[in-house]
Structure formats: structure tokens, C-alpha cells
């Protein structure tokens, strides 16, 4: 009798468990899968990571936003319906649209803009340098003239730079009243804004259960059209194969960060239930040589390395074709970009350059990269290519904390790494790659070239667009001939998406500079 009871209880449990099945995804809900470990905060004054930024963009409205028009990022009105620039290009006046409201129903005022921007400067968090260094802003630079007018006094940076920075996350406008109500110990609401929102964008942050899921719901007070997708659920799945299986099973609509092999499978074997969306990535992948280290002091050795590398093998084998050959620091579609790929693998030429530099038998060098599978594979290809011209290289894999510490102190001989673009203007790329005075990539690789630095600075100040574009083209040529960088490629980003999804291509065009969930429907 007892055994029979136990058996019945087990049967009941099994039946109960099997009936609690996952439901289908509703039409007005978008489910995405991603490794959400990168999410640290939803505070627009603090968030600076790529994937989280795309979500923050959909929670906060800015004065202006960037849309992709004919392949180029173009500033368009967001909270500001129009704007003016002073004669000297330094003072910008923005006129706010009437009737725009925050999610809590409060009207968006110029004082909210002033508070948000001053707050970002005072917090001094990761993105603050975009305001302070790139635009030269101080807290006094932002003034609310009246409820609908705000002025911003910059250092005279070109218009595209100013508008691009204002369209970035740091330019997200917060509801001053709500943030102040949640201040603790003078933190300007930073702790609260980590997992709450106070914006005027199309969505609000409803829940962030760390390492489980993030839920956005529609902002019913949004000034624009109400989105077709009312709920966005970002499910944490740290393992790429889990995300891929969940997509194929129909349990998620979008799978982020699938492997290149899975992406190639989706591209090559179309099965109808899921597809692949690709987009030129907002980053660049490079090999860099320390110009103050041994043989790399000689420009001919640096050129030899550039001619030794098999760019096509890296693009086609390591990236399975998910990359675009781009051997300059300007990304495709950016101001001043003109295709220029002068380097193809030429072992004989590379060997001659090495011999001319006094290294006919090569030398030994250490290549450092991080633990990313792609980077390690790239380093192996580069190692093999260098061996063909007599350079013996040893690959050292370092954790990011260790690698950046050494890199920032000019302590690496050679590195395989990447660079994410901070704002979509040529200035955001020329500075790190060519101007050592900003102490970014050119400095880290000890390429202390005054001519390149001067050209970068001149282009950064030039208001005349034709002249500015010409400076960048001249700089690219000089940089390719003399610089310490072998630019491997510009990646193509990809997502696995479900068959029911519409408008994903427009929503993610230009990701993550532009990412608009309101364009997605089912």
C-alpha cells in the first residue's frame, strides 16, 4: 500500500513537471539570448560597454540621435526638434520638442538636460572623457536658457563630432526630479540607476535579475510611435551553443554572439526556420608592433611584417568570411573613408625589406593576445606567416587585466588586438591610431610621430569638410607607410534571428551606434 502511494506520488510529480512547459513567445514580445556578463549598469552616465549601450539607447532619449542614411551615420532630431551653431562653431543651441515626457509622466525640460550632462561630467565615469576631452565641456558649458532651450559651449570640435557624442549614451537625458529622489550619499542616483531607469526613450527597464534575465517594457509616455514590441526579454545564456540551440528550437527570437562556425552554417545551409543578419561592425582588428622595440624601430621591418601577413587567410578561414578587408584606421562609411588596401601577402618583398633593414635571418619576437578564440587563431596565422620570412614568434596569451597593464606602459613587443569605435567620426579613429599625444594606441606602440599627430590634430579642428577629408586621406597614406599597425580587417557582426522577425535589419543597421528596437515587429 505504502509502495503504491509512493509510486503514485512520483507519477504525479512527473506529470506535473512535464505539463509546466515553456510557452510560445507572444507576438508583442521579443526574446533575445546573450551572455549578459558584460552588463554592469543601465546608467547612461556610466555605461560604456557595447551590448549594454544598445539597450540604454532604447531607454533614454537624447537631444539628437544617429540614423543610417545612405550607409552613413546622420544626426537626426530626437528630444531637440532643431539646433543652431554659432559662427565660431563653439556654441550650440538646442530647442526641445514640446510635449516630450519621461516614462513617469514628467515633461522633459532643458533643466533635465543641464542636470544630466553636468552629472555625467561630475561622475567622471568611463564615458565622461567624451564630454570633457573630446568636446572640452565643463559643468558650466551646459546651460538651460529656459524650459525648452539649452546651450552647450564646446571647444569648437567639428559638427559631426559634437552631434555624434551627444547622440551617444552619455547624452541620454535623465529625469532630474526622479534621479534626485533616489540619491544616496550624494551619488547622484548612480546606485539606483544601475538597475532602474528614468528616461524618455521608447522603453523602460522593468527588471534586471542578474545572470538570469533583463526585461524592458514599452514606455507608454514615449513621444514617438508606440513600438510593436511591447516587451523585450534578454535571457542570460553564457554558452554560445545553448544560444544557438535555443534559436533553432524557437525559444528565442535573436541569438547574440553565436560562433563563427554556427553563423557560417546559417549562412550556407538555409533551413528557413532561422536566418542570419550581418552588419559591418563598429570596430577594427589589428596587429601592432612596438616602434621602440629592437627591429621594429626600423620602418622597413614594420613594412615587412605588413607584407608577410596573409590577410585573406585570416578573413576567410579564421573569420569564415565574416570580415571586410580594410587596411586603414577609418571604418567603412565613416567621414573621409576611401577604400585603400595596399598590402597583400608578398613573401619575397617582405624578405627583401627585412634584409635591407639588416635582418636577413629574421629575429625572435613575442606576440601577445588575449584569451579570445578568434584572436588566438589570428595570432597563430600571423606566427606562421612571420615564420615564412624568418621571424620566429612566440604567442603569449594574457588576461585583459594583465595585457592592458603592459600595453598601456609600452611593454609589449607585438600584439593582436581590436579597437571599438567610441563615436562615429573619423576623429574617434585617427586620434587613437595616429596621435601619440592622446596616449592611446599610437602611444602604447611607441609610435611617437609628430607629423601624424599634427595631421590628426589639424583634421580634428578643420570645419571645412573637403579640407578635413583630404587631411584624413593624406594621413591614412602616411600611416600605412610608416605606422606600426597592420590592420587585419573590419569585422562583420552577426546575429541568428527567427523567421517571424521583421524590421531587424533596419533596427540593427549600424549597430551599436544605431540600434532602434521600435523598428522590430513580428
Amino acid at each position: 500500500m505504502k509502495k503504491k502511494g509512493m509510486g503514485l506520488a512520483c507519477l504525479f510529480l512527473l506529470v506535473a513537471i512535464s505539463f509546466v512547459a515553456a510557452g510560445n513567445i507572444p507576438k508583442d514580445t521579443l526574446v533575445m539570448a546573450m551572455n549578459t556578463e558584460i552588463f554592469k549598469t543601465f546608467d547612461p552616465g556610466v555605461c560604456f560597454e557595447v551590448e549594454p549601450s544598445a539597450f540604454v539607447k532604447n531607454i533614454y532619449a537624447n537631444l539628437v540621435t544617429l540614423n543610417v542614411v545612405n550607409g552613413a551615420f546622420t544626426p537626426v532630431a530626437d528630444l531637440a526638434e532643431k539646433w543652431e551653431q554659432s559662427q565660431d562653431g563653439k556654441v550650440w543651441t538646442f530647442y526641445l520638442r514640446k510635449g516630450a515626457k519621461f516614462a513617469n509622466g514628467d515633461t522633459v525640460k532643458a533643466s533635465d538636460v543641464e542636470y544630466s550632462y553636468r552629472r555625467a561630467i561630475r561622475l567622471k565615469k568611463s564615458p565622461a572623457w567624451l564630454f570633457t576631452d573630446t568636446l572640452g565641456l565643463t559643468e558650466e558649458s551646459i546651460k538651460a536658457v529656459n524650459d525648452t532651450t539649452v546651450t552647450i559651449t564646446t571647444n569648437g570640435a567639428p559638427a559631426n563630432v559634437v552631434l555624434s557624442v551627444l547622440a551617444a549614451n552619455i547624452g541620454g537625458v535623465l529625469c532630474e526630479k526622479e534621479v534626485k529622489a533616489h540619491e544616496t550619499n550624494g551619488d547622484m542616483g548612480m546606485a539606483w540607476l544601475t538597475d532602474h531607469s528614468a528616461g524618455a526613450g521608447p522603453y523602460v527597464l522593468k527588471e534586471w535579475k542578474r545572470k538570469t534575465q533583463i526585461v524592458l517594457t514599452e514606455n507608454k509616455n514615449y513621444y514617438g510611435n508606440q513600438p510593436a514590441i511591447k516587451t523585450i526579454l534578454l535571457r542570460d545564456m553564457p554558452e554560445a551553443s545553448d544560444r544557438y540551440l535555443a534559436l533553432k528550437k524557437g525559444d528565442v527570437d535573436v541569438a547574440y554572439q553565436i560562433t563563427v562556425e554556427a553563423a557560417a552554417e546559417l549562412r550556407d545551409k538555409k533551413d528557413g526556420s532561422v536566418s542570419l543578419f550581418t552588419n559591418p561592425g563598429q570596430s577594427l582588428e589589428y596587429v601592432a608592433m612596438n616602434a621602440s622595440w629592437g627591429p621594429f624601430k626600423d620602418v622597413r621591418v614594420r613594412q615587412a611584417v605588413k607584407y608577410a601577413i596573409d590577410y585573406d587567410a585570416i578573413i576567410n578561414k579564421v573569420r569564415e568570411g565574416f570580415a571586410i578587408k580594410n587596411q586603414q584606421f577609418l571604418a567603412i562609411g565613416y567621414f573621409g573613408y576611401k577604400e585603400s588596401n595596399p598590402f597583400t601577402r608578398d613573401v619575397a618583398k617582405a624578405k627583401k625589406l627585412l634584409a635591407d633593414a639588416g635582418y636577413p635571418n629574421g629575429f625572435e619576437v613575442e606576440i601577445v593576445t588575449n584569451e579570445s578564440e578568434i584572436r588566438r587563431a589570428e595570432a597563430v596565422v600571423v606566427q606562421s606567416n612571420l615564420a615564412d620570412i624568418g621571424i620566429k614568434s612566440n604567442i603569449v596569451i594574457m588576461q585583459a587585466a594583465q595585457m592592458y597593464d603592459k600595453y598601456r606602459n609600452q611593454g609589449l613587443q607585438m600584439i593582436v588586438a581590436g579597437w571599438g569605435i567610441d563615436y562615429p567620426d573619423a576623429d574617434a579613429l585617427a586620434k587613437p591610431f595616429a596621435d601619440y599625444t592622446v596616449k592611446q594606441l599610437a602611444w602604447r606602440n611607441a609610435w611617437l610621430d609628430d607629423k601624424a599627430a599634427a595631421m590628426t590634430a589639424a583634421a580634428g579642428k578643420e570645419i571645412n569638410e573637403q579640407k578635413r577629408a583630404q587631411i584624413y586621406r593624406d594621413l591614412v597614406k602616411y600611416w600605412q607607410d610608416n605606422g606600426p599597425f597592420a590592420m587585419l580587417y573590419q569585422p562583420i557582426d552577426f546575429w541568428g534571428i527567427g523567421k517571424d522577425l521583421k524590421g531587424f535589419d533596419k533596427a540593427y543597421e549600424g549597430y551599436n551606434v544605431h540600434c532602434d528596437f521600435t523598428l522590430i515587429s513580428k
Partner: protein, 335 residues
């Protein structure tokens, strides 16, 4: 030694062990030639931003001054703020700990029930089919990589058969009420039975994967111990007295054979509580293991120290419990 004095002695040793772990972790993380701020801000951050943050976090102070600050915080019950999440480390740990406890408990229950049963049957039916099966099962459990087996199980039971979910503690459209953080317990407290059954369903695969190697260890120890006991004179005497085999095994042999198993169960449970990063990663389980490993990768000093203290504490408590159990069972252990 009295049991009370024995416990006090072990508790004092535990405090010393945790303090030692704290000092070692603090020094080791600081002498590694790496820069956590650089990793946190990313490769693009200009040097001014890196310096400003280093100053803000007090990482530009001498190591000794940082140690004094840190120890001062610990004595006030403050483990510091995580460099990555900016939240108090204790908040982070308490958020992820329940998921780890839940998985560890279910895994150890699974491992003990299956391991003891297999070990017992294996010893009693030595060199018979069940013994061979148990030994092969144990060897596979110890030698098969958990992450590989986990992926295979997901492929079969989630993707092909659709019987079980691939990961997480519950389905995406389930929103449980949080009381203790333990999903199953909260579901029972709040009468959310759909959440309870949903949670059980999500526990099955990670429990099996995490508990399998422990099952194997327990089964092997249990088998050896049982074989040893079955050859003891008192067992022979009991059999000679005419007691049925079942009674001799379950009433006389099993209790004594379980003593060495207690040690291994304690160690295994301590290990499970310290987090299982691979299982947590494969099954999207929001536990402490992933938190600590990510802290290590970003060199998040306060989180590494806080997490390590918690692991040391859990190991110590479990070992203490095992020792007390031992001492209670066998007074010779108190010497």
C-alpha cells in the same frame, strides 16, 4: 576531550584559517603584474580616466595601506564594493549564493542516494552484473568532462526530445516571488506551485551533471568500505547466528560502512557549495562560481577576496560539521 571543548578548538582554528586565506588572497591579487582598472574600463579608455578611477578606488595607495583599509572594513562587516558591479560584494554574493546552495543540495542528495545505493549493491553483488555496471558508471563519472556531458545532455533532452529546459532556474515567462532567494523554497512558501514544478524541471540536468562525479566517488568509496565491513568477524558472527542477509547488511554492515563515506560527502559538498563554474555556464545557472571566475578574469579585488572568504567559510563549516559528526560517533577522534 569533551565534545564542547573540541568544537571550541575547531572553531578557533577555523577563524585562523579564514584569516590566513584572507591575507594570502589579498597579497597574491595585489602582486600580480596586472591592472584591474584597465580591464574594467576597457582598452579604449585614456590614461587620465584610468588614473582617475584608480585614485577613486584607492588602488594608488601603498599595498599595506590598502590591506589596513580592507581589514578595517572586514571587521566592520564590510567586504568592500565590487570594482565591476559597483555594488557591495556582500550584496552580490547573497544574490548568487541561493542558486548555488540550491544546486549543491540537490546534487549532493542525488549523489548520496545514488552513490550509496550503487556502492552497496556493488559490494553485496560483487563481480555480478550490477557490480560491473556500477564500476563502469563510476569510472565514467570521474573521467567524463562535465561540460562535454552537459552539452550532450542538452542536445538530447532539450533540443532533440524537448523534455527538459536547456538552462536557467525557471522559464523566461515565470516571475517567482523572492523571499529567501531559494526558488523551490520560495515557491513552497508562497504557494506558487507552477514555479515549484518549473524549478524542479530546470534542476534535473544540472543536478545530474554536477552530482555525477560525486556519485561516482561516493559509490567507489562505499563499495570499498562495504566490502571491508562484510569481511569483519562480527558480520560473520551475525550471519552464523542465522540473521537474514538483508538484516545483516542493512542493520549491521551499512552503518559502519558509511563512516568513511561521511568524509567524502563533506568534501564533495564543500566543493559543490564553492560553485561549479562549468556547470553554471553550460546551464545558465546564476550561481557563485560564475561570479568568482568573472571576478578573477577582471581582477576585481574585493569580489575575489569576498568570494574566497565565503568559499573558505563554507568549506570550514562543512568540514567542522563532518568532524563533529565523527567525534560524536567515534570518541577517539576528539583526542
Amino acid at each position: 576531550m569533551e565534545l564542547g571543548s573540541f568544537i571550541i578548538k575547531r572553531l578557533s582554528l577555523m577563524v585562523l584559517v579564514i584569516f590566513g586565506v584572507l591575507i594570502i588572497v589579498f597579497i597574491v591579487t595585489r602582486i600580480i603584474p596586472a591592472d584591474p582598472v584597465g580591464a574594467i574600463l576597457g582598452g579604449n579608455a585614456p590614461p587620465e580616466a584610468v588614473d582617475a578611477m584608480r585614485h577613486q578606488l584607492g588602488l594608488d595607495k601603498p599595498i599595506f595601506a590598502q590591506l589596513v583599509d580592507y581589514l578595517g572594513g572586514i571587521f566592520r562587516g564590510n567586504l568592500g564594493n565590487s570594482l565591476v558591479s559597483s555594488r557591495p560584494v556582500i550584496t552580490d554574493i547573497l544574490e548568487y549564493l541561493p542558486a548555488t546552495i540550491e544546486l549543491a543540495i540537490s546534487s549532493i542528495i542525488f549523489a548520496v542516494v545514488l552513490g550509496v545505493t550503487l556502492g552497496l549493491l556493488s559490494a553485496v553483488f560483487r563481480n555480478r552484473f550490477i557490480d560491473h555496471f556500477s564500476r563502469v558508471f563510476s569510472i565514467l563519472g570521474i573521467s567524463l568532462p562535465g561540460f562535454w556531458l552537459g552539452l550532450i545532455m542538452i542536445l538530447i533532452f532539450y533540443y532533440k526530445l524537448g523534455w527538459l529546459p536547456s538552462g536557467g532556474q525557471y522559464d523566461m515567462f515565470v516571475f517567482p516571488t523572492r523571499t529567501t532567494g531559494l526558488v523551490l523554497l520560495d515557491a513552497m512558501i508562497n504557494g506558487e506551485w507552477n514555479v515549484f514544478f518549473n524549478g524542479i524541471k530546470h534542476l534535473i540536468l544540472p543536478t545530474f551533471i554536477l552530482g555525477y562525479s560525486s556519485t561516482a566517488s561516493i559509490a567507489r568509496i562505499m563499495r570499498a568500505s562495504m566490502l571491508d565491513v562484510l569481511h569483519q568477524n562480527y558480520i560473520r558472527t551475525a550471519r552464523a547466528k542465522g540473521l537474514p542477509k538483508k538484516v545483516v547488511i542493512l542493520r549491521h554492515a551499512l552503518k559502519n560502512a558509511l563512516i568513511p563515506v561521511i568524509t567524502i560527502v563533506g568534501l564533495e559538498f564543500g566543493g559543490l557549495l564553492s560553485g561549479a563554474v562549468l556547470t553554471e555556464t553550460i546551464f545558465s545557472w546564476p550561481g557563485l562560481g560564475r561570479y568568482i571566475v568573472n571576478s578573477l578574469l577582471t581582477l576585481d579585488y574585493p569580489a575575489i577576496s569576498g568570494g574566497t572568504i565565503f568559499i573558505a567559510l563554507m568549506y570550514s563549516v562543512v568540514n567542522l560539521a563532518v568532524d563533529i559528526l565523527y567525534a560524536a560517533v567515534d570518541p577517539r577522534m576528539r583526542a
